[in-house]
Every structure is written in structure tokens, then in C-alpha cells.
């Protein structure tokens, strides 16, 4: 009996150390990212005054870009999204919508709204994809091409778009997203003005729920009415404003949102395009590009800027939120597992030694460790196996420090972009940031834990998130 107790005690002590290290590492790195981003984002917003977008817009040397919109059963949002894409202010812009075998009215709505004609077209794939069924064009809108293809999944639709686009850069855009007019110019600025070869440029994704839209444009920014959506606003601010910015500053970008990012087409083709074997094709491509660059001894740069804005609809109910987060976690685990040789690989630099281990340990395994912690720490205390101070440390790191970081993200927003200028909105965001870690975080953790379990079970199922129609 005493040996069992000893074994239990040792196991729980080991687990406690694991939890502590997870919290210390996660919170420590997030604090560093926050401090880095605070300064960098503040400076960046000041620099916007002399950024020179006019010069970029007027220059004949600004590289052409094609926006790729993969769509599968997006009949409610696709017309507005396409309208938003066509309204983007960019000197040489093309738009390709790839209807990935929709079974609803997605294609019909496009044909009807944009007066498209079915036309003959040749398909010359650089990356293999499912076959194309038909090409649709309107000679009055020469920069728009809509193709209908046999269903092959989002990565397949994106690859078909890459095959069809002629420009050196492409921008992938989710079918439920709305772009701000100058978003693409802002996204291309770091590519054009960088001396290094910038192959990826990502922008910020903000939550559309609660905003007013007209003809594919956001006309008034506001906070969403539902509690669940408001927590996601805080979460997105934290994730994009200091998570992505911080990793970019450290040179360890591992995730660029697939909802809105510009890629160098030839590099993506060389790296093999979007892969089908994970459910987060965006992260997989970024890691694949790091892999490819290191293997081929190529110096590439990935950029993240927080001023180009893409508005997206977030899940407004628990079922859809669960699906989204399970998929993200599953995709993260799949990608990290698939590219595990990057972990502490010398040739991968900061990605191999900091970013990849952090994502593996804190974002990947951490979900399971923290979730189990919520069950085992109270149990250990009840059984007298865990000292009471550990509960204080656990609360401190799990709840209070998380709130500190979330409040930091809201402060960063207030110091820089101030998209929610009303005092009431600021107060709401601060309150939600304070309480994000008391309930919402645990809920998300539960979904992420399910994602880890799905990964362990070998699942590859893409869980579709239906949109409530904030963009409709």
C-alpha cells in the first residue's frame, strides 16, 4: 500500500513539475513576446504616417498579386467576400475563386451576381490537383476568374488556384472574410521594401461579428453581442497583436493565418504547394517552407504586420467553436509531428531551437498537460499528495498570469490601432480580458484536449465550421 502511495506521489510530483515548467515556459515566453510587441507595434503605428502607400500604389514595379478564394458550400457569404476582394485597392490585382465541388448554391450565386459566362479554358497544373470542371468569366471583369472543380479539400482548391494564377504573388483569403481596401497594399509593403527575399507576408485577422457591413466593406466596427464572441475578440487580439508580432520579431514565425496571407508563388510551388495530410494547411505550408529553405540552403524571410486587416466571422455557438478549436489543435499536432526533425535541428536556427520546441511543448502537448492539471492538482491536494502551495502557484500561473497577458493585449490595442474607440468598448474588453481565464480558457482547453485525442487516434477529419452570416 505504501509503495503504491509512493508511486502515486512520485508520479504526481513529476506531473506537477511538468505543469510548472509548462506554465513557466509558456507564460515566460508570452511575456517576452508581449514586451517585444508593445514596443514594435507602437513604433510601427507611428511609422504608418510615412509608410508611402501612395508610392507603392503608383509604381509600375509593384508586383501583381492574385487573391485566391477557395470555397466549399459558402453560398451565404461568397458574394460579399468576392465583392470585398474585387474592391481592394491594388495596382495589378487578379481574383480567382475556386469552387471546390460545392453542393449548395455557391457557384450559382457567383454566376448570377457577377454575370459570369462559362468559357473554354486550359488547365496546366504545376501542382497536381483534382480535375477542373468549368471556367467562368465575365469579359467586363477581366481580372476575375471562377473555376469549378471536383471536390478535393481546401488545400487542393488552393493548389488549383496557384496553378491558375499568373502573378508572382498570391494572397489566400477565406471565403467568409472581408478585406479592408488597403489591406493588400499594406501586406505587400514589407515584401517590396525588404532587401531580403520575403516569401510570406501575413496580416491581422479581426472579428467581424458585431461590425456593420455594406457591399463587402466594414462600415462600423463594434463588439459582438454574445459573450462567447467577445472572449474570442480578446483571444484574437492576444494571438495576433503580440503572439504573431513577437514571433516575427524573433524570426521564428511558424504560423501565418491561412485566412489572409501573401505568398511567393514560385517558392510555394518549389516547396510542393499546400499539403493534404494535415487539417491546417496554412501552418503546414509555413513549416514546410522553413524545411525547404533549410534543405536548399535558401535564405527566406517571413513577415507579419499588424496593420493590414482582414475581417472574419468567428463561431457564435459552442458547437462551431468546438469544431474550430479541435481542428486547429489536430492540425497543429499533425504538423508538428510531420516536421518533427526541425526540433532542435541546427540548420533551422531560431525556428528549430525556440519556436518549434515552444509550439510543440506549450501549444501542442501543453493542452493535454494543462487539462489534466485541472483534474489532477485538486485530486492530489485532496489525497494529500500535493502540497497546498502548489494550488496557489497553479492558480497564479493558470488564471492570474493569463489575465495579465490578456489585459496586456487589450492595452496594446488601445496604444496602437484603437479599432474600438468607445470607452464602453474598452471597458468591456478589459473585463473580458480579466475573466477570459476563468471559464473560457478552460473550455477552449477542453476542445484542444479533444483535438490532441483525435490526433492520437489518427483522425484526419476536417470539421466544417458553418457561418452564422455576419458577412451575409
Amino acid at each position: 500500500m505504501s509503495s503504491l502511495r509512493l508511486f502515486l506521489k512520485d508520479s504526481i510530483t513529476f506531473f506537477n513539475l511538468l505543469i510548472l515548467s509548462y506554465f513557466f515556459l509558456g507564460n515566460g515566453i508570452y511575456t517576452i513576446l508581449m514586451l517585444l510587441s508593445l514596443r514594435a507595434t507602437w513604433i510601427h503605428t507611428r511609422r504608418l504616417a510615412y509608410q508611402g502607400l501612395d508610392a507603392l500604389r503608383g509604381s509600375p514595379l509593384t508586383p501583381p498579386v492574385t487573391i485566391l478564394i477557395p470555397a466549399w458550400n459558402e453560398q451565404d457569404v461568397i458574394v460579399n467576400s468576392l465583392r470585398s476582394a474585387l474592391q481592394v485597392d491594388y495596382p495589378e490585382l487578379g481574383v480567382i475563386v475556386v469552387d471546390d465541388g460545392s453542393t449548395d448554391l455557391t457557384l450559382d450565386r457567383l454566376v448570377e451576381s457577377f454575370h459570369l459566362l462559362e468559357m473554354d479554358g486550359a488547365y496546366r497544373p504545376s501542382i497536381p490537383t483534382a480535375p477542373i470542371r468549368a471556367f467562368y468569366m465575365n469579359p467586363e471583369i477581366p481580372n476575375l476568374l471562377v473555376v469549378s472543380k471536383v471536390r478535393g479539400g481546401k488545400p487542393d482548391a488552393l493548389n488549383a488556384g496557384i496553378n491558375l494564377c499568373r502573378s508572382p504573388y498570391f494572397c489566400n483569403l477565406d471565403a467568409d472574410c472581408l478585406l479592408e481596401r488597403d489591406a493588400l497594399l499594406r501586406l505587400m509593403d514589407p515584401i517590396v521594401n525588404s532587401a531580403a527575399e520575403t516569401v510570406v507576408s501575413g496580416g491581422i485577422v479581426r472579428i467581424l461579428n458585431g461590425c456593420e457591413t455594406r457591399n463587402g466593406r466594414v462600415t462600423k466596427v463594434g463588439l459582438p453581442p454574445r459573450v462567447l464572441e467577445r472572449f474570442q475578440v480578446v483571444e484574437y487580439l492576444r494571438s495576433f497583436l503580440f503572439g504573431r508580432t513577437g514571433w516575427h520579431l524573433l524570426g521564428g514565425t511558424l504560423i501565418v493565418s491561412g485566412a489572409f496571407a501573401v505568398f511567393h508563388r514560385a517558392t510555394v510551388i518549389e516547396a510542393g504547394g499546400f499539403c493534404h495530410d494535415t487539417v491546417t494547411e496554412d501552418m503546414d505550408l509555413i513549416v514546410q517552407l522553413h524545411h525547404w529553405a533549410a534543405d536548399n540552403n535558401r535564405k527566406i524571410r517571413m513577415s507579419f504586420t499588424s496593420d493590414p486587416v482582414c475581417w472574419t466571422e468567428c463561431p457564435s455557438n459552442l458547437t462551431m467553436l468546438a469544431r474550430q478549436r479541435r481542428r486547429w489543435q489536430l492540425g497543429l499536432c499533425q504538423t508538428l509531428w510531420k516536421h518533427s526533425e526541425i526540433l532542435f535541428g541546427r540548420k533551422y536556427g531560431i525556428v528549430g531551437w525556440l519556436s518549434f520546441p515552444f509550439h510543440s511543448y506549450v501549444e501542442g502537448l501543453g493542452a493535454a498537460a494543462e487539462f489534466l492539471g485541472y483534474l489532477l492538482v485538486p485530486l492530489g491536494i485532496l489525497l494529500g499528495l500535493v502540497p497546498p502551495f502548489f494550488l496557489v502557484v497553479f492558480i497564479l500561473l493558470g488564471f492570474i498570469y493569463g489575465s495579465f497577458l490578456s489585459v496586456g493585449a487589450v492595452l496594446l490595442e488601445e496604444l496602437t490601432y484603437r479599432r474600438y474607440p468607445r470607452f464602453r468598448d474598452l471597458l468591456t474588453l478589459l473585463v473580458f480580458a480579466m475573466f477570459e481565464n476563468a471559464g473560457y480558457r478552460q473550455l477552449i482547453l477542453y476542445y484542444r484536449f479533444q483535438g490532441v485525442l483525435k490526433f492520437l487516434a489518427g483522425s484526419r477529419r476536417w470539421e466544417k465550421v458553418a457561418h452564422a452570416g455576419a458577412n451575409a
Binding site: 504616417a49 509604381s59 468559357m119 473554354d120 517590396v192 502540497p387 497546498p388 496557489v392 492570474i400 495579465f404
Partner: protein, 488 residues
């Protein structure tokens, strides 16, 4: 156990309190910042409501001594705040620049901005040391950096010619932001005197002697200058370094294409382009080792008045590298190149091994007007290559030419235009034709069908006699179904 854990618990509790205090501090900063920002916005609004009407009157070209004196009474910082929106994206129109420049000079703003540029270069005196004797370069504060960058931007927006030497010096600033803004301002001012300095800078950047600004930014800036400055590019065009030759040629190409877009019969005459440049293009660059250089050179050669240009372009149409052929065939899409000699070359490109060259040749022929289109239609009617024929159909559909072909056919057009429409109808997939007929107005449809149906019936009879052609007749069948579709 209890005595061991007590300090740890205390430590944890202390940390907890610290983090809580930190969180409260962040909240306080956010609220304070919000209040401060709102006060600042109110101040800006009051400044604008009080002085914007005066500024608008002055900018409209009706300067009044009273108005200028009112603005002059404002502190310089407030004046800058008031003027700042005029220098932001889309702030001031082209026609107001001269007035705004005069106003800024009158109010002492230009002197302030120039002073900021020169002051940044002076060493700052250390405390206790005689003024200006310290050799240590100043570490400009962030605020100073932003002010300097904005000053440079403003001088650029005003196209203030006398400031260009200061801006060229700003290119040596250690901060890349200052370099980038200075470069953009130089590109806006376009002072001919600054062009050679920028070319020199381009060379040093490419040769690795300097890291910034980026070659792409330098190229974009140089391309904004007037074509008359291009003589200074000779050193780049003759440079042994491949990348410098490429950048030089590309800058020249952009300058030429920009001017050509403004003038339909634009030609590079010796007044705008030095004979040395024309010579080097026709003798060296069109045969350069780098395909990028040859491709770019082709686009400039297309505008040369020199009689040798035609044969050089013809040769470039058959360059070993597809990329050069693509550039060359695209550049011939100008009416003055629709000579029989070049048309023959372009038509040969319809048989090119690379689909993009074939496609560019088709587009060029379409843009060359009736003579070009005739060549394209004739090739379609005579070619045995199914891939090229399909590609021609695709290009015709995408260019929107199908609608005019259908209309012309209904109006009784003859020749290859009529033949090609009838041929399209008997192709396997006349999707564009079907679509155009479906969307066109009833008159056009009626006229088309009146002329086409007898031909179609004749072809149908032929199909029945020769079953092998049945597959080709599928498209025709679709077209024949139109009367019922239209009636429905």
C-alpha cells in the same frame, strides 16, 4: 514538510500579488491612455475647426495677410498638427502643391523641416564638454526619428526642389526608415541632379557595399524620374555586373513604358534618349548573357526609331529562352509593329513550344487590330494542332471578341470572320459562343441564327453522311438547340 513549503507558499503568494498589481497597472495605463487620446482628439478637432477654414481659404489660392498672420501666431507644433493631414495619404491634390509649398515657406515650416535634417547630423555636445566637440554620434530618440521622417515626407510631398541635396545626404542616415522616406521623397521631387547619386547608390547596394535601401526600392525610385535623366544610366547598362545591367535596363524600360502610355505614337528620339543608350541596346543588351536583360531590352528597343530595331526584335522572337520570346512578342502589341515582316514573326510564335508565348502572340495579334486578327483567324482555320486551336478559342473568349464576332456574323460579315464563327460552332466545346448568344440582345441573336441555321443544317446533313464527324458535331448540336432555348 510544512516548514519547507512555507517559504515557497509565501513566494507564490508574493508573486500572485505582484501579478495582480501588474494587471491593475496595465488596466490603469489603458484607461489613462484612452482618456489622454480622447483629449488629444478633442484638441485636434478644436484646432481644425478654428483654423481649417482659414487654411482652406489660403489653399484655394486667395492668400490674405490676415489669414497668414493668424496661422503665424500659432506655435510651430500646432501648425504641424494642422498641416499633417495634408501630407498624409491622399491629403493634398496635385493642383494645391505649389500653393501649399508657398504657404509652408511663408510660415517657416520648410525651414523647420530642413533644419531637422541638418540638425540630426550634428554631434550632440556631452554635458560638461564644449559644445559640438564630442565625436560620439547622437543616438536619435524615437520621437526625433519620427519627426525627421515626417519632415522628409513633407518635403517630398511639396516637391521642394532645393531640398534634394539634403535628401540625398539623408540616404546615408543609419536608420533604414529615414533612408526609405528620403528615397521616396527624391522620387517625388525628381530633381535631375539627384539621379546620378541614386544610380551610384544602386551600384553600391548591388555590389554589397551598402545594405539599404533595398535594390527594389531604389529601382522604383529611379524609375519615377524623367526619361531625359536616362543618360546617367549608361554606366549601369555597360556595367560588368549582371544584376546592375538588369536593373539599369529595367529602370529604362519602366521610364519608356510610362511615357509611351501617355502618347500613342511615342518613339525614343535622341532628344529624350541619348544615342549611346540606343546603340548599347541594339548592339549589346539584345545579345546579353542574361535573359532578363535581353527580355527587358526588347521592350525598350520596340520604341527605338532606329531602322535596325525591327530586325533585332524579329531575332528576339526566336530567342532560345521562352521568357525572352514572351517579352518580345508582348512588346510588339503596338499598331506600328503590324508590318508584314513582324506579323509573320508573331504568327510563327503561335507555334511556339511554350504555351505562354503562344498565348502572348495571340493577344498581340488581337491588339494589332484587323490585320492581326486576320492572321490569328487564318492560323486557327489552317492549323492542325488541336492544342493551339483550343488556346485560340480560349483567348478569343477571354478577350471578349466573341461578342463582336457574333454580331458581325449576324450583320453579314464575310471572309475569315464568318468562317471562324462557323468553325467555332462545329468545335466540340463552343462554350463562349453559347454564352454570348445566351446573353446577347434578341436582335443580335435573331440575325445570327437567321444566317447560321441554313449552314448548320447543311453541316448536320454532312454529319449524318459521315459518322466520324459526329463528335465534332456535338457543339453544333448545342447551338442548334438555341431556338428552343430562346423560345422558352
Amino acid at each position: 514538510m510544512g516548514s519547507q513549503t512555507e517559504p515557497v507558499t509565501q513566494w507564490a503568494l508574493t508573486m500572485l500579488v505582484c501579478v495582480l498589481i501588474g494587471t491593475c497597472l496595465l488596466i490603469a495605463v489603458a484607461l489613462f491612455r484612452h482618456r489622454q487620446q480622447n483629449r488629444y482628439s478633442r484638441y485636434l478637432r478644436s484646432l481644425e475647426s478654428n483654423y481649417r477654414p482659414i487654411l482652406a481659404t489660403l489653399l484655394s489660392g486667395r492668400p490674405t495677410a490676415q489669414g497668414i498672420n493668424t496661422l503665424r501666431a500659432l506655435p510651430l507644433a500646432d501648425l504641424e498638427l494642422l498641416f499633417d493631414p495634408l501630407f498624409s495619404v491622399g491629403g493634398v491634390g496635385q493642383k494645391h502643391v505649389a500653393v501649399l509649398q508657398a504657404l509652408c515657406t511663408e510660415l517657416g515650416l520648410i525651414q523647420l523641416w530642413q533644419h531637422r535634417l541638418t540638425a540630426g547630423e550634428e554631434p550632440k555636445a556631452r554635458r560638461g564638454s564644449p559644445r559640438g566637440t564630442s565625436l560620439r554620434p547622437p543616438a536619435p530618440s524615437l520621437l526625433h526619428l519620427l519627426l525627421r521622417a515626417k519632415s522628409i515626407r513633407n518635403l517630398g510631398v511639396l516637391r521642394h526642389q532645393p531640398s534634394w541635396p539634403l535628401l540625398v545626404r539623408a540616404l546615408d542616415d543609419p536608420h533604414p526608415d529615414i533612408q526609405s522616406v528620403a528615397l521616396r521623397s527624391l522620387a517625388t521631387i525628381r530633381a535631375p541632379g539627384s539621379f546620378p547619386a541614386l544610380v551610384g547608390r544602386l551600384h553600391t547596394v548591388v555590389l554589397g557595399k551598402s545594405a539599404s535601401p533595398s535594390p527594389r526600392a531604389l529601382k522604383a525610385a529611379l524609375a519615377c524620374f524623367d526619361l531625359t535623366c536616362s543618360a546617367a544610366l549608361l554606366s549601369s547598362l555597360r556595367h560588368p555586373h549582371r544584376r546592375i545591367r538588369f536593373l539599369g535596363t529595367d529602370i529604362l524600360r519602366v521610364m519608356v513604358c510610362r511615357d509611351a502610355a501617355l502618347e500613342s505614337d511615342f518613339l525614343l528620339r535622341s532628344e529624350v534618349c541619348s544615342p549611346g543608350i540606343a546603340e548599347i541596346l541594339l548592339t549589346n543588351l539584345c545579345r546579353d548573357r542574361s535573359a532578363e536583360v535581353r527580355g527587358r531590352a526588347a521592350e525598350v528597343i520596340a520604341f527605338l526609331a532606329d531602322p535596325r530595331a525591327t530586325s533585332v526584335l524579329y531575332k528576339l522572337l526566336f530567342d532560345p529562352l521562352w521568357y525572352v520570346r514572351l517579352r518580345a512578342v508582348r512588346t510588339l502589341a503596338k499598331p506600328r509593329h503590324s508590318t508584314p515582316y513582324l506579323l509573320l514573326g508573331i504568327r510563327d510564335c503561335l507555334r511556339d513550344s511554350h504555351w505562354r508565348v503562344r498565348e502572348a502572340a495571340m493577344q498581340t495579334l488581337i491588339s494589332l487590330g484587323r490585320r492581326g486578327r486576320q492572321q490569328l483567324y487564318e492560323h486557327f482555320l489552317t492549323s492542325q494542332d488541336q492544342a493551339t486551336r483550343e488556346q485560340i478559342v480560349e483567348v478569343i473568349e477571354r478577350s471578349g471578341l466573341m461578342a463582336s464576332l457574333v454580331e458581325g456574323y449576324g450583320e453579314g460579315a464575310g471572309g475569315v470572320e464568318a468562317l471562324i464563327v462557323e468553325q467555332f460552332a462545329s468545335e466540340a466545346a463552343p462554350l463562349g459562343l453559347s454564352g454570348v448568344l445566351r446573353m446577347s440582345n434578341p436582335d443580335v441573336r435573331q440575325k445570327f441564327l437567321e444566317r447560321f441555321l441554313p449552314v448548320a443544317h447543311f453541316k448536320m446533313q454532312l454529319q449524318e453522311e459521315t459518322p466520324l464527324e459526329a463528335s465534332a458535331g456535338m457543339g453544333l448540336q448545342q447551338v442548334l438547340e438555341f431556338p428552343s432555348v430562346l423560345a422558352a
